[in-house]
Symmetry: D2
Subunit: 300 residues, 4 copies
Amino acid sequence: MSFNTDLASEAVDTLKSKNKSFKQYSNIKLIETSVDKNLSKQINKKQGDYYLIDISNEDTNDSESLLRVEKFITKVLKKILKKEKITNNSKGLIVGLGNLNITPDSLGPKVIDKVIVTRHLFELDKDSISEGISNVCALSPGVMGTTGIETSDIIKAIIDKISLDYIIVIDALKAYDINRINKSIQITNSGISPGSGVGNRRKELSKDILGIPVIAIGIPTVVDASSIAINSFYNLINNEQYQNLFKNYNKLNENDKTKIEQQLISNYNNNYIVSLKEIDIDIENLSEVLSGAIDHAIHF
Amino acid sequence: MSFNTDLASEAVDTLKSKNKSFKQYSNIKLIETSVDKNLSKQINKKQGDYYLIDISNEDTNDSESLLRVEKFITKVLKKILKKEKITNNSKGLIVGLGNLNITPDSLGPKVIDKVIVTRHLFELDKDSISEGISNVCALSPGVMGTTGIETSDIIKAIIDKISLDYIIVIDALKAYDINRINKSIQITNSGISPGSGVGNRRKELSKDILGIPVIAIGIPTVVDASSIAINSFYNLINNEQYQNLFKNYNKLNENDKTKIEQQLISNYNNNYIVSLKEIDIDIENLSEVLSGAIDHAIHF
Amino acid sequence: MSFNTDLASEAVDTLKSKNKSFKQYSNIKLIETSVDKNLSKQINKKQGDYYLIDISNEDTNDSESLLRVEKFITKVLKKILKKEKITNNSKGLIVGLGNLNITPDSLGPKVIDKVIVTRHLFELDKDSISEGISNVCALSPGVMGTTGIETSDIIKAIIDKISLDYIIVIDALKAYDINRINKSIQITNSGISPGSGVGNRRKELSKDILGIPVIAIGIPTVVDASSIAINSFYNLINNEQYQNLFKNYNKLNENDKTKIEQQLISNYNNNYIVSLKEIDIDIENLSEVLSGAIDHAIHF
Amino acid sequence: MSFNTDLASEAVDTLKSKNKSFKQYSNIKLIETSVDKNLSKQINKKQGDYYLIDISNEDTNDSESLLRVEKFITKVLKKILKKEKITNNSKGLIVGLGNLNITPDSLGPKVIDKVIVTRHLFELDKDSISEGISNVCALSPGVMGTTGIETSDIIKAIIDKISLDYIIVIDALKAYDINRINKSIQITNSGISPGSGVGNRRKELSKDILGIPVIAIGIPTVVDASSIAINSFYNLINNEQYQNLFKNYNKLNENDKTKIEQQLISNYNNNYIVSLKEIDIDIENLSEVLSGAIDHAIHF
């Protein structure tokens, strides 16, 4: 079964992999997926540690829930920063990918609008800076349809120009399972893989390419239309009640099944996204949560 | 086969109805659907004349294309206004339904931002008004999730308060066929039916309820996630290549087929919408086109 | 000296009035101005109780400061609601005046976007409502330049249509003193007077007109350009150093002084507003504070 | 008399300079100011050619007026591009300075949203490009308060990374005369000088610094509050009627007059801007005009 997802955790679900572990913290579930060289090829995700924070039991409209989520993300983020040897004295750049004018793709730019930046204070008025405050700047580079420039070229240019020790990238992601929309946060040290996200952001942002650690924080805000086509079909086919009706299908070999999947998704090139009707409030709240978590993880 | 659509033209496609006529005007196709009492029950759309302007052969990013579309809409709108006995001396209210913060639902409010209003000039400075300028006002009432008030209650209240002869309602609609997204304009004298649109706008705005003509202009900017589930399945089932594989299905009676459709869409309650990735530019351009067409149809 | 201000407290400053009292609560100062019939004529403000919450010693970029301010506003608001005999069982409408597209005028609409509404739940699903939750709805009617309708007509229409016990109106105000921009919150039971606010909102919203209590909450986000002209001139004239230079002026009678004031402001009709360069963040934070305070004052 | 202005034409008005010429083209006036080494020191503007297109006799709400203005700007822009030896084969970057969230400062980012970009097509699908289409990309770098990075550092980084032949910078400017707000377009080959614009954008973008031609297009959307203080005072002082009253002032030497000016503006540090009440519509229309003019000047 083919998966169109940016979540390593979902991609691994098809395999009998042992690279995945669960932990439950009251309402919040943490799923760690370690993608090694082997697994990387199988699921087409870059090598690295992937943390999926499952908040499907929290209410993204409730301020106490949101505070719990923010604290949890802060903790996971601090752990990864430490692992990547990023300290309070490291200089960071927060990058918000996506398009402010398309609601489910506006997560990144909205986080950039809210996150605290200090780099200019370090340059202009160093004495005014309290202890614990770290040197950080931020950028919403915009989407290629508006700029005509590859986002990775903009980011590389800035890294070459100003001295930086690490990058945190925020992006709206694509899930396979519609129930994950706005209900998971993926944090990884592998960067952002090519072709991921809501829009068409093609070149990867990673330590391999940029030379410094790249922590990617993503929230699935959409699924691809093709995922609906595939998912609804398998829901039917795998329903016990209809086993007999579709028994011919179940007898097919993997190759033929794949052909049928191709037929199912043939009308949905990569241009259609599925999202929640009332996504604006979630995006507003989640961008608040992410910017708060980043602020708390960086400055301490 | 069940259809989740706001377009009368699509709804009629399932029936062998004669209430539909086509005309081709260079790139633009006009489909007229006359919904009488009988057909109204069959397709669950209010009685009235429905004009579907099919612009799938025009380019919504090209200014000359957009100008042609604007002129065509103006003509259709003038015809309907005339039929409804609305003249230059009639007083109108333009209502933009939808949520400004959700891109595919922002069409209505964006038209209201752009449309010319004159009512206050008639009240405050009547002598300044050129001949041909009609008395018109406009309102974006907001969505019930933000106001807590039924939109129809707000509109009814205003009609009761200020003297009005007709209403034009703009709304983002739901199509069944994903290819119609941003590629059709439906204009009807039947008003807006309950349950239609991208959001949850429940009570109808119509002549029956409001006592004055209600012209509704809608553009399908989304399809329901369930339409993808149904449509992709039938695309597969009806493919000649797989006739044999699914022959058991084709032998089922309508009742059983409906059960299977229910199973296919069971995960997609009304909360998921499918839209184009780069919908922001279309919405911007189409709101410009609609406001221009309304201005030209009303003031002459 | 002429004052172009929406703040009763500022208007009273010219008079030797005893209708004004101060209280200091750590960083926050509360100024109560009781405007009776007599004073109303002198300062051209409607009769009523005016509370000015002076937050010039709080930092509108600091979350702890903002929380203190929110709590203080909640307390003042509760006091006024009680005085007006508004209880948990009263039905309210929150009205956000102003234009979302002009930053210093967007306060009202932004509060409406954030405030909790419950009226639709009372109508549709009464059993789901927890104890303490009050029945409240909200509206951003838009500005007359966009709607062509007087805001007061829209509000009156809705009051006539749906049963309501009180109204809370939010508006961006004009101060005389540039230092008060975003540094004061005025709350009054007198409603909103004609001609006030950033835009041209002409007809008053008050208990006299609407028949139910109207609580107005305003924050000065601009001063008029004419206030700069007047204020800078008097700053110079009243400077001891230049007493001799301008002694001829000081000998003039009030009438002649007024003529000179007219000359000073002659280039600044009502169309120019003075605001802070980086006003966007303040407006965002203050709209958050006001919506929070309203939520806490109403539901308890 | 001190001037706080970004317009060379205004700055020159204080001097008996011959570096200024006027031409009238029906409703539109063109003022050319050539700033040489000498004049540069006197008026504190960089050397270069400054074109001020005065559109105070055009109506920025009328589509025919706007079209005339767009065509005029195109012509001036073409002339400057030619002078700078920029051809159809040159590669350009359009930079929109300013803050999208503050209405009078949003001109630059809004132009970037609307301007046509082609660089990605040249990279990805060169054969699809029609003759006459030029290679151009665009960027809204954001403001330092949000990014923590000097805008000039971002632009320099990108120039170093991708091959470019010229830059066009769009910015909202500050005028001295309140009547020029949204009524002039300044185009210059001198770049953007430090300290100009609505916000605090400090480091210059110019050929000297960046090594390639920098064409700056600016529209004054604000005046500084201090300009109101100065201007209103001189309006009074220079009024014949009050010559006698202020004769002592007129006898002062320049040094003492400057002290008085300092006193007049002492309350208005650089943080207050004066703008039009209904500036949103102008900014929307003018950003449309500028993006159209740039498109037509570049691609031909």
